[in-house]
Subunit: 581 residues, 2 copies
């Protein structure tokens, strides 16, 4: 058995190792266009700031080490030019010598990955514009940082990689701007959740331009001007383009392999392409989103690794009945956004809405561990679920413990659990690690109450629309303390502190629907229960409380620390001190 | 509806709040023998060191605050003396005035908790011996610490509370000894996992006496001598007795309520006692262990809270068909052991063995996040599973991220997942938070391989027995590097580095079964695959590697920093500096 694998990073290298462990006799050839196999692509941004100080740490496996351990014929700096499916051969070019060779295969695995989108924006060829996808890209960025000593960085695209790059530029001491065409960064998150990251990044002195796109770039002698569609201009010393990726499908397309409707290589549940001898994994393939059942591109390392393990077994399987099934991915992901972690799994509210599925969504803010033990940090958790209780997705943002709660909910979604099951989960509790009622339990409790009719909630955007369009149609009650109310409240809200509510029911008119709210939603729920049992028929409680509403609707402004046009005249130490306080 | 709740901590207070939210009209009386309701019993040990500096923080809810919010008749310092089931009344005594009253009920909830075991050991009445279960206990300990300035603490019992107390004594600067009658501390853990905590605690200069019991205590003028069954003596300035708890069932027993076989109050799946008007929750009841199906006592705060929520609904339910079922607990738990977290869920190997169920157990050591990103810490993870792949339980110990992995596995166990499902979980990955192959995935991979016959493992204790009783019956190969081998290896092991193995197969005899091992198990697995495919029929790989074997079998010695008999002559600052380095 001779196997060729095209693409030597996550999917390809993992499959190669698994193939060897399963078959000591197979001839395995691993082709990689770049100079390194199995490098830590997820770690690249962190070398910019020095968080990962040694470049060598990014080279997880060396070619020599991999060959020694797995007896694999590794060929880096080698491009696969074409596949001859009839004769089962691949034409390869050594990118150093230019030499072309033809290599036969019994089984072929495509793991080519994805390429960075680079739209034809005028000026995009500027030498100050970079992308970041591999080690050579990183080397170019590091060289530019060393040589040109940029003071001001602009990142085009507020997705995961863009934000990681922005954070690391900032940590290196550059004043950093993120330009995002959508209304919020963090595409897998809903508005009000991403708004938490907006506020945090601006606090960190990162500038955000949201809902704005690049019109064109213009190079000047010592900087480049980014012209936005809004007419705004941003001076940049270095620019990273990070607006997304698309599957690398040229080789597959040229070979006549079937592509899917959304542009990836089409594979069956055994990860086999339309040619039975050719398999594919990783960012280049289309997969099924496990939650929605729809076809999706999910360019993440975790799914690529699991696909690689399955495909290796299937490539060696005697027949399809012995093959393992890949059941799809659900897009569980996490991002460090400065001090925050933003994690998500499954579908967000916008996605469920777009599918037209009836759903409910509730937001809770809970401590990462018992409040009386030092260091407890708030986790904001949004849960999206069906009317039958099935969990569709979740988003969590917080300084500590967001990863844990999303991993638990990702496991629950895989198991087809309901919100009642989340309420009933028995999670590890001691004061330094959690609460007797974990944030996941609390989210499950709230959702259970919503679904069994014992708690009617209203979302921030629905309430915003009412307050804007017809504020007189509801009576709005803030059940927080007078002290909290005095600091800030919603327009038109009357303050009746929860602990006074039973005594002051007579003050509340019975003509209009009531909307109650507190800071995070818990006191509002208790107030809701009192009111509903006191003859008020139409009551709802603002989910996520005033906190979520304020985050979601706040007019946030960019930091204003710099004379942008003259930033190059500033001392770098001065920039760093203004950025980091 | 008039409801009396006896016991105002976790279960009782939670039920009271839920009852009020569900029924604004009910008369609810909450009886608490102690001076405080709803205090943070799990936080008590942390006040000893000052980690929780303010005593007031432990009083989560004040009586006044609870009454104001929930309109509940709270009576602390009140003891329930007896229940008259025929007349549905409870006789109460006010512990301050001595006044006795009779209160009627429609529904009664028992949440009396558990009491500390205090066996009749000679000398146990010493004024230097304390227990820690509530705020008055803590106040007594704090008073003794302040007045007597103890230098040397002895904790009897290496369970969770005992270890928390030991850590906090140590952090306060006392030289601390733990005496445990079993062969290891951390009762829910297996030997080799608890051994990690032994090594860590001794490194922290905590003294451990394992497999030894107290024979008697003898008071001296300024200290107490703890005499152990082994004949050893320990000088103590302060002693905490923490050998376990038993359900508080006196009230229930006197009232003729049915008790279970293992000493707790017997309840049905609706948490109703043998009297239909009386319900019970918390540490005092017997529950079903969800994994084993056996009756168990699980005195933990998480289950008590969930029981409270369910019982509140059931107490108000019109009839049994409207009642919610409590399906039992699985003993998910976690403990901070100095810098480590030790977390577990479900059944350990010893428990599965005792049940006589066929099983396999494997141990992996993985990084808490990507190794190339700073701060990655090793997590040791033991997985116990059935031959059909069903996960029975897991134990994780590490500096970072053990809690997350156990919560994920607890969720998986609740869902009835298999080890294949663990391999397939899609968990949140970015370098600061995890790995593309999360430790849970890795544990699933290893277990899948074990079950599908592609990986034969041997446990440390089985190998230890072979090496002790019949070392010549196997050939032992250490596939680590010569450098690792030179530092330490197993007796009789020959070193053939993994990357040399294919070339050196001829050196290996074919007469005996082979046992291979590496540091953690991964290289051993690759070696296993090479050997099995090279004509060696009987091969097994040491699960958990040399690391687990060494931990489990190491003869660990206690720290030897002090002249115990003269410790009172030492300067406290001197003790602290020797303890904390």
């Amino acid at each position: 058995m001779k196997i060729i694998i095209i693409g030597g990073v996550a999917g390809g290298a993992t499959a190669a190792a698994r193939l060897r462990r399963s078959d000591e006799q197979a001839e395995i050839v691993l082709i990689e266009r770049g100079p390194y196999i199995s490098f830590a692509n997820c770690g690249l941004p962190y070398h910019i700031s020095g968080a990962i100080a040694e470049r060598g740490k990014l080279l997880v496996t060396t070619e020599a080490g991999f060959t020694a351990r797995y007896a694999i014929d590794v060929r880096s700096r080698t491009e696969a030019l074409s596949i001859d499916r009839a004769h089962k051969t691949v034409t390869l070019r050594n990118l150093d010598s230019g030499e072309e060779t033809v290599e036969s295969y019994d089984r072929l695995l495509l793991s080519p990955g994805a390429e960075v989108l680079k739209p034809p924006i005028p000026g995009i060829g500027s030498p100050r514009i970079f992308t970041l996808r591999n080690i050579p890209d990183l080397d170019r960025i590091m060289a530019s940082l060393g040589e040109n000593k940029p003071r001001r960085a602009v990142v085009i695209g507020g997705g995961f990689i863009g934000l990681e790059v922005a954070e690391n530029f900032h940590d290196r001491g550059l004043f950093t701007t993120v330009v995002e065409g959508a209304s919020h960064i963090l595409p897998p998150f809903d508005d009000e959740m991403a708004a938490i990251a907006h506020a945090h990044m601006r606090e960190k002195q990162v500038e955000l331009y949201l809902g704005d796109k690049v019109d064109h770039f213009e190079d000047r002698a010592d900087h480049t001007i980014v012209f936005l569609a809004s007419g705004k201009r941003i001076q940049a010393d270095i620019i990273i383009l990070s607006i997304g990726v698309r599957p690398e499908v040229k080789l597959a397309r040229d070979a006549g392999l079937e592509l899917g409707a959304i542009g990836g290589i089409k594979v069956d549940e055994h990860l086999r392409t339309s040619d039975p001898a050719i398999f594919a994994v990783g960012d280049a393939i289309e997969v099924v989103n496990k939650v929605s059942g729809k076809t999706a591109l999910i360019p993440l390392a975790g799914p690529a690794n699991r696909q690689a393990r399955i495909v290796a077994d299937n490539m060696l399987a005697a027949d399809p009945s012995a093959c393992k099934k890949y059941r799809g991915a659900m897009g569980t992901a996490i991002l460090k956004v400065f001090d925050l972690a933003a994690a998500c799994t499954g579908l967000n509210e916008a996605a469920v809405q777009a599918l037209g599925i009836p759903y409910r969504a509730s937001i809770t803010h809970s401590g990462s561990h018992a409040s009386y033990y030092p260091g407890s940090q708030q986790i904001s958790l949004k849960l999206v679920y069906g009317l039958d209780g099935r969990v569709f997705g979740a988003q969590a943002i917080g300084i500590d413990g967001a990863d844990k709660r999303i991993d638990v909910i990702a496991t629950a979604i895989k198991a087809g659990m309901t919100v009642d099951d989340l309420a009933d989960l028995e999670l590890a509790y001691a004061p330094p690690f959690g609460s007797a009622k974990d944030p996941v339990n609390v989210a499950g409790y709230v959702a259970s109450n919503v679904l069994d009719g014992s708690h009617d909630i209203i979302g921030w955007s629905e309430l915003r629309d009412i307050l804007r369009d017809a504020p007189d149609t509801i009576e709005l009650i803030d059940v927080r303390t007078p002290e909290e109310y005095a600091i800030a409240s919603l327009p038109g809200a009357r303050n009746i502190e929860l602990n006074q509510l039973r005594k002051r029911l007579g003050e509340i008119g019975r003509g209009k629907p009531l909307v109650v709210f507190c800071q995070v939603g818990l006191r509002g729920y208790v107030a809701y229960r009192i009111l509903k049992q006191s003859g008020f028929d139409e009551v709802s409680n603002l989910t996520g409380g005033f906190k979520t509403y304020a985050w979601a609707t706040e007019k946030q402004s960019n930091p204003d620390l710099f004379d942008y046009e003259n930033i190059r005249q500033l001392d770098p130490a001065e920039i760093a001190s203004r950025l980091h306080g």
